[in-house]
């Protein structure tokens, strides 16, 4: 400790604080709290955290087919013979695969782009796993007839879906987009024009 009561910059505590501070959404105070929590925790708990961090970096790879995070390639979904193989759902992030799987309503395969076209953030089509998707679709053995683009319903998601549509339609593949409209529990009064317009456009018969 120096005279102001702070750990020296090269001390183990300062290095741990700095490591936590590099994580997204963690400010300097939160980083300190986390570091001191680890310091006070039993040796076993700290060891488990360290092991988990190293293990995830060592064992998690990208599935060679769908680009999802997995411990074995091909991943569990790509290797499942009971999945429908003619439909691929394209998502932005691995967490989106988990979200769609939770619904239990989709039995096809996935493709993870690992991002979305966002010029404002310097992300272009070449930074995403689009070439891998094209290679997969051009492989005649896959027999894919439909690609569902499940990017988020925002500007970047729209740009990505239109870009994919432009690329994939000439391959003779049907390109669809998740339906857009009002979320459950929304108020019409507060809906924006785009959302409300699309909710009207994609209205359904009441059954």
């Amino acid at each position: 400790m120096n005279t102001q009561g702070r750990p020296a910059a090269d001390s183990p505590i300062a290095r741990l604080v700095e490591a936590f501070h590099r994580l997204p959404g963690i400010g300097p105070k939160s980083a300190q709290r986390l570091a001191y929590h680890v310091l006070r925790a039993p040796q076993q708990e700290a060891q488990e955290l360290a092991d988990a961090l190293l293990e995830v970096k060592r064992s998690v790879v990208l599935c060679a087919r769908c680009q999802d995070l997995t411990t074995e390639s091909p991943c569990r979904i790509c290797g499942d013979a009971s999945r429908e193989r003619t439909v691929i759902c394209v998502v932005e992030e691995p967490l989106d695969v988990r979200a769609i799987e939770r619904t239990g309503g989709f039995r096809g395969l996935y493709h993870v782009l690992h991002g979305v076209i966002s010029p404002a953030d310097g992300v272009g089509p070449e930074d995403l796993k689009i070439q891998e998707l094209l290679a997969r679709l051009r492989d005649v053995d896959t027999g894919v007839t439909e690609v569902i683009v499940a990017t988020n319903p925002n500007l970047e998601g729209e740009a990505t879906s239109m870009y994919l549509g432009r690329l994939l339609r000439p391959l003779g593949i049907t390109v669809t987009r998740l339906a857009r409209g009002l979320p459950a529990g929304a108020d019409l009064e507060y809906a924006d024009d785009v959302t409300l317009g699309r909710a009207l456009e994609f209205r359904q018969e009441v059954r």
Binding site: P119, A120, P170, P183, Y190, G197
Partner: protein, 295 residues
């Protein structure tokens, strides 16, 4: 209660009793707690698990970052009104470091832009240009008006090149970076279009005599120069009558991208996306043609 106030010019503190009898003395400048303004949403980024920092271009306060609390939640009442490329009316509560959006209402969502990849990518480019050429707490009434008009023109189907180039030239002019297409930037003489060279570094065209002194000056297609002069000087409706073939449009775009790159001192990332969208269209057309021939 007599309370000392600091003069607006930063002068010494004085009490209200110092004002001459019968007049109202200088009032302290107060920042209103809630303000209302219209704005165009330039971009946003995530803040924690549920909030967003939204960058707005406003006429009066220039470019500002504001916090939209809960905008990442599916049931957010504001998220749709704060999407990039939306002209919106916002109510802002004065915050310590950033203002907080308390209400947002869409004035124009430019819906047709979002259904056409070429228009959408061009609109993203316009927004990035406006983002780079505007600043916080600097009046941006002209820039705001130009962006609003350009997005309106794009969404109603005006030419992509026309709308984009006219916007770039007008915004450069308003920002103090007007390129000089008529007279030599070195000697001031009028430069004939068919004997001109140009340099982004020099800020415009140079005549044959001065070309040696303008490092990096390169020849410029006379047709490109005539179009640039027309776009810079003619009313929009007259400029819209100029017909551009694909080659001329590409050269025009190349020159203006060089100008913008020089002015903003960095690559405009959306320009790459405009090109990628166009390439995707061209390759799709090629595949479709090949399939047609096979069929």
């Amino acid at each position: 209660m007599a309370r000392a106030v600091r003069a607006a010019d930063g002068g010494a503190e004085r009490g209200p009793d110092d004002a001459p009898a019968g007049t109202i003395g200088p009032m302290p400048a107060r920042i209103p707690r809630v303000t209302k303004t219209e704005a165009i949403v330039l971009r946003h980024r995530r803040l924690g698990d549920a909030d967003r920092i939204v960058t707005l271009l406003t006429p009066g306060r220039g470019k500002i970052d504001v916090v939209a609390k809960g905008a990442l939640r599916a049931r957010s009442r504001m998220a749709g009104h704060l999407e990039p490329l939306t002209r919106t009316e916002v109510v802002l509560a004065h915050g310590r470091s950033m203002d907080i959006v308390t209400q947002a209402h869409t004035l124009d969502a430019f819906v047709t832009l979002r259904a056409d990849l070429d228009r959408l990518s061009s609109a993203m480019y316009l927004v990035e240009v406006a983002d780079r050429l505007t600043f916080e707490d600097v009046d941006a009434g002209v820039a705001y008006g130009l962006l609003h008009v350009a997005l309106t023109r794009l969404s109603r189907g005006d030419g992509l090149q026309l709308t984009t180039r006219v916007f770039e030239l007008a915004l450069l002019d308003a920002s103090g970076f007007r390129p000089e297409w008529g007279q030599c930037v070195a000697c001031g003489d009028a430069v004939p279009a068919d004997r001109a060279a140009w340099s982004a570094t020099a800020g415009g065209v140079v005549c044959e005599r001065c070309r040696g002194g303008a490092g990096g000056a390169a020849p410029i297609d006379a047709r490109v120069l005539r179009v640039l002069r027309a776009y810079q000087s003619l009313p929009y409706e007259e400029a819209a009558r100029i017909r551009l073939d694909a080659e001329l449009a590409a050269r025009l775009e190349q020159v203006m991208h060089e100008v913008m790159h020089h002015v903003v001192e960095r690559e405009l990332k959306s320009a790459r996306f405009v090109a990628a969208a166009r390439r995707a269209g061209a390759s799709a057309a090629t595949i479709a043609d090949a399939a047609g021939e096979r069929g």
